[in-house]
Point group: C2
Chain length 206, copies 2
């Protein structure tokens, strides 16, 4: 693309480095900003800078937080002996949304993915194993994505903590609520059959 | 969505005000930035600010430019008596890409669209009519989108300049190069038949 302005080109270049944003999309967004009041752009740029430079990660669970210890970890009403292992803050938000979980979290910051150059050392795994070995943990719930990378990460952590005397579990795989059976893939359907639950339990807490 | 951090929430809010960017996409982009070097965010924010606050619009054709008069308008080798009327800078870039146009442009800055609250007074129409009435224009080529809004804008401008002694034309509508005939809509196909071109002309300049 030949740009009539270096300033526009630079902004489009920077914007299109974000994942899923191509040059054309970036250009469309920039033209939108140019039509708006300059304050809009100032607010956006300031919010980005503030977020990137002032944001903190909870010392205990590594979720994103404005303070050193996040609201969940510093809440005495939560069960600190139950830890749910998740990939990133979006999963924490999704699980909190269910209002069914009273334990705490441990945010890995990603999944083991050799294809993307992400090994165990780049994730918050050591600190989780240390927590378990310190002896204050009763249950670890694995809540990673049901993908090859998610399963690899699950097993990698499980191998390191399986000799500690704790309960480990993974969230249930099965037919999503509202889904038609005929459209489910066979692995999901198979698992939902293998790990069927007693009828009277199935509609609890919902 | 319940955010664990106000800084993150603010950044997601600002980002999701861009067209086509929802809250989930914005959150994904923010988490990406948080994983990158802080410099990336600084560069992006600075590029946005610089673009919005320092960019200029050409005094003559209203396209985006770093200088008061754009490269095209200040080029003596271009035909300044032929003006191509376009919606925005993307159209200028697309037409320049063909390397077939030697005239100059006039960027309206949008189309007349009562649904979006855009009337003729918000577009650079008066200045175009003045250029024509000043008498230095030989031909006006309308190159707006082939939509209701584009046609409305075409007619609005045409009505004001039709009594001036100039040539007016619109870019040809027809089957796109590489398209299969069977998938063309009937209006396009009809027009391509009505405005057929002499065979020997069809492959000129390509």
């Amino acid at each position: 693309m030949e740009f009539p302005s270096k300033l526009l080109e630079k902004a489009v270049d920077e914007m299109s480095q974000l994942p899923g944003v191509g040059k054309r999309t970036a250009l469309r967004l920039m033209l939108h900003l140019l039509k708006q009041n300059p304050d809009r752009t100032t607010h956006l740029a300031e919010a980005l800078m503030k977020m990137r430079h002032d944001i903190k990660f909870c010392k205990s669970c590594f979720t994103i937080s404005d303070i050193d210890m996040c609201d969940i970890c510093s809440n005495n009403h939560r069960d600190h002996q139950t830890i749910c292992v998740v990939e990133d803050v979006r999963d924490v938000m999704a699980l909190e949304n269910t209002q069914l979980y009273k334990g705490v979290y441990h945010v890995l910051g990603g999944k083991i993915s050799p294809m993307d150059g992400i090994g165990p050392s780049q994730l918050n795994i050591t600190s989780l194993v240390e927590k378990v070995k310190a002896g204050n943990v009763k249950e670890i719930i694995f809540a990673l994505s049901s993908t090859m990378e998610g399963d690899t990460t699950n097993f990698y952590i499980f191998k390191q903590i399986k000799d500690c005397n704790i309960i480990t579990s993974t969230i249930a795989r099965g037919i999503a609520v509202g889904d038609e059976l005929e459209y489910a893939d066979e692995v999901t359907l198979g698992r939902s059959l293998m790990y069927r639950v007693p009828f009277e339990n199935a509609f609890k807490n919902v």
